[in-house]
C-alpha cells in the first residue's frame, strides 16, 4: 500500500476521464492520473503509482531505481503487483 510503484504511461484514456493505461513490470493496467493534472502527462512518461493513483511524475532513471528497490524487498512487492494485476478499475 505504501509502496510507490513506477509505471510507464502507454495511453491516456478520454473516457472515463482521468484514466491512463500504464505498463507496470509487464502488466498493463488502468490507473487514475487526476492528481497530476498539471503535469500534462503523455505516453512514454513515468509515474509513481500509489493504490491506483499516479502521485508523482519521475524520470526513467528514478523509475529504474524505484523498481530495483521494490524487487529487493521481495514478497511485499510481489503481493502488491499481484493485487495490481487483480485491479480492474477501468471497467464499469
Amino acid at each position: 500500500m505504501c509502496l510507490g510503484i513506477p509505471g510507464e504511461i502507454a495511453e491516456i484514456l478520454s473516457d472515463p476521464p482521468e484514466l491512463a493505461m500504464v505498463d507496470v513490470s509487464g502488466v498493463r493496467r488502468a490507473i487514475n492520473i487526476g492528481l497530476l493534472e498539471d503535469e500534462d502527462l503523455a505516453p512514454g512518461d513515468w509515474v509513481l503509482i500509489h493504490v491506483g493513483f499516479a502521485l508523482s511524475k519521475i524520470d526513467e532513471v528514478e523509475a529504474a531505481a524505484a523498481l530495483d528497490f521494490l524487487k529487493s524487498i521481495g514478497e511485499p512487492y510481489e503481493d502488491e503487483i499481484a493485487a495490481l494485476r487483480e485491479s480492474t478499475i477501468e471497467q464499469g
Binding site: M1, C2, L3, G4, N32, G34, L35, L36, E37, D38, L48, H50, V51, G52, F53, L55, S56, I58, D59, V61, E62, A64, A65, A66, D68, F69, S72, I73, E75, P76, D79, E80, A83, L84, E86, S87, T88, I89, Q91, G92
Partner: protein
C-alpha cells in the same frame, strides 16, 4: 545519463562513511529518527548501520500506517463488516492485523464478506456492481493514500453511487512527529524525513521542526545512498550548528508538494479533534474524518460503531517500538511468540513495520553483535 548504480555504489558508501565519521564530535552520541517504514526497510535490507559511525544510532519512527491503527478501530471495522448486506473492502496489508476480536481474516472465516482490494477505486467498482449491497472501504494510510480515498469519494459523488462509504482512518504525519518531539522519553538530534508522504505535503510543513525545535530534517529517497546522504547532511548541519529542512529527494518531492492532492483531501476530509494511535496514545488533530458535506459517504455516521478502546496484549511492546524507545529485538516476544507468521503486534504484521523488517533482514546486524559482546 544517470544510472541506478549511482544510488548503490559501495565505493561512494564507504567514502560517505569516512566523511560522516569525520563530522562526529568525539564523545557525542547522535540519535536520528527515520520516520518512514520504507526507510527502515532499506536500512536493514542493505545493512546500512554498518556504514554509520558508532556514535550514530538510528531510531525507527511511527511511519507505518498499518502499525499505528489501534485495536479498537479494527474491532469497529469488523463490527461494520458483520452488519447485514455489507461488503467490507481493505488493502491486503490490513487483513492479518490482530484486533481485540481477531483479524479481518478471522471475521471472514466467520462469514463476513471482506474483500481485499488494491485501490479504493476497486472498492467503488464493487459498489457499482452490487447495488443492493453496502460497500465500505477501510481507508488507512498517511497523506500518500488520503488523496486517493478523497478522489474516489468525489468519483462516487459524480457518478451518483450511493451504496459506497469510507471508514476513515487516515492519519497525518506532522502531529505524530510533534508528539515524539514533545515526548520526554526520547531525545533526538535530527530526522530523516519520509519520501512519498512528502511528495504530497511538500517540505514546508516540517519547518517548525527546524525552527521551533532546532532539529535538522532531511527528506530523502529509498535507495541505500539516499539514506546515507541524508544522515551525512544531518551530521553536517549539526557540525555547523544549523537546523534546516533539506530536500535530498527533489527528483520526486517538490518543495511545495502536490497542490491538487492537498486540495482534494481538504474538500472531502477534515481534521479530527484527536485520534488514538497505537503506542503513541491520543494525539490531537492527527487524523482525518469525512466532512459534514460528505456524511452520506461516511461509514462512521452510517453505522453505529462501538468505538471501544482496546488495550494491546500485555506481552506486546509495539508501543515502545513505535516510539523508538525499544529496538525491535529488545521486545520480550520478538522472534519467539511473535513472528511474521503468527504476529502478536502490528509492527510484525506489516512488511514496513520495524519488527518485520528487522526479523527478515537484521537478525545478525551489529546490534546483536554488540549485545553479545556486552554479555
Amino acid at each position: 545519463m544517470r544510472f541506478v548504480d549511482e544510488y548503490r555504489d559501495a565505493g561512494q558508501a564507504r567514502a560517505l562513511a569516512a566523511q560522516m565519521a569525520a563530522l562526529c564530535r568525539p564523545g557525542r552520541a547522535y540519535k536520528l529518527m527515520e520516520v518512514c517504514g520504507g526507510h527502515t526497510h532499506t536500512i536493514y535490507k542493505h545493512g546500512l548501520e554498518d556504514y554509520l559511525p558508532d556514535a550514530v544510532t538510528l531510531i525507527h519512527g511511527p511511519g507505518c500506517p498499518v502499525c499505528v491503527i489501534p485495536m479498537g478501530r479494527l474491532d469497529d471495522a469488523i463490527h461494520i463488516a458483520e452488519q447485514p448486506d455489507v461488503i467490507m473492502t481493505s488493502f491486503g496489508d490490513m487483513m492479518r492485523v490482530p484486533g481485540g476480536r481477531g483479524s479481518f481474516l478471522d471475521a471472514k472465516a466467520r462469514g463476513a464478506d471482506i474483500r481485499m482490494v488494491y485501490s479504493p477505486l476497486d472498492a467503488l467498482k464493487i459498489a457499482r456492481q452490487n447495488p443492493r449491497k453496502r460497500v465500505v472501504f477501510m481507508a488507512i494510510g498517511f497523506e500518500t493514500t488520503a488523496p486517493s480515498t478523497a478522489m474516489t469519494v468525489l468519483r462516487a459523488e459524480t457518478e451518483g453511487i450511493h451504496n459506497f462509504s469510507v471508514f476513515c482512518n487516515h492519519v497525518t504525519i506532522i502531529p505524530a512527529i510533534k508528539a515524539i518531539l514533545d515526548s520526554p522519553d526520547l531525545h533526538l538530534d535530527g530526522f530523516i524525513g519520509p519520501g512519498h508522504v512528502s511528495a504530497v505535503i511538500g517540505c514546508r510543513p516540517y519547518e517548525f521542526i527546524a525552527h521551533t525545535y532546532g532539529k535538522p530534517l532531511v527528506v530523502t529517497g529509498f535507495e541505500p545512498l539516499d539514506v546515507l546522504r541524508a544522515v551525512y547532511q544531518i551530521l553536517t548541519q549539526l557540525a555547523e550548528g544549523r537546523s534546516q529542512v533539506e530536500n535530498q529527494y527533489a527528483r520526486v518531492v517538490p518543495w511545495n508538494g502536490n497542490a491538487k492532492a492537498l486540495n482534494v483531501i481538504s474538500r472531502v476530509m477534515e481534521l479530527r479533534p484527536y485520534f488514538e494511535w497505537r503506542g503513541l496514545g491520543s494525539i490531537s488533530h492527527s487524523a482525518l474524518k469525512m466532512t459534514e458535506k460528505y456524511a452520506a459517504y461516511d461509514a462512521e455516521r452510517i453505522f453505529q460503531i462501538p468505538g471501544v478502546r482496546v488495550a494491546d496484549p500485555k506481552a506486546c511492546q509495539c508501543g515502545e517500538v513505535l516510539k523508538g524507545v525499544l529496538k525491535p529485538w529488545e521486545c520480550k516476544v520478538f522472534g519467539t511468540a511473535c513472528t511474521p507468521e503468527t504476529p502478536i503486534g502490528t509492527c510484525m504484521v506489516s512488511s514496513e513495520g520495524a519488527c518485520a523488517a528487522y526479523y527478515n533482514f537484521g537478525r545478525f546486524s551489529r546490534e546483536r553483535v554488540k549485545e553479545a559482546t556486552r554479555r
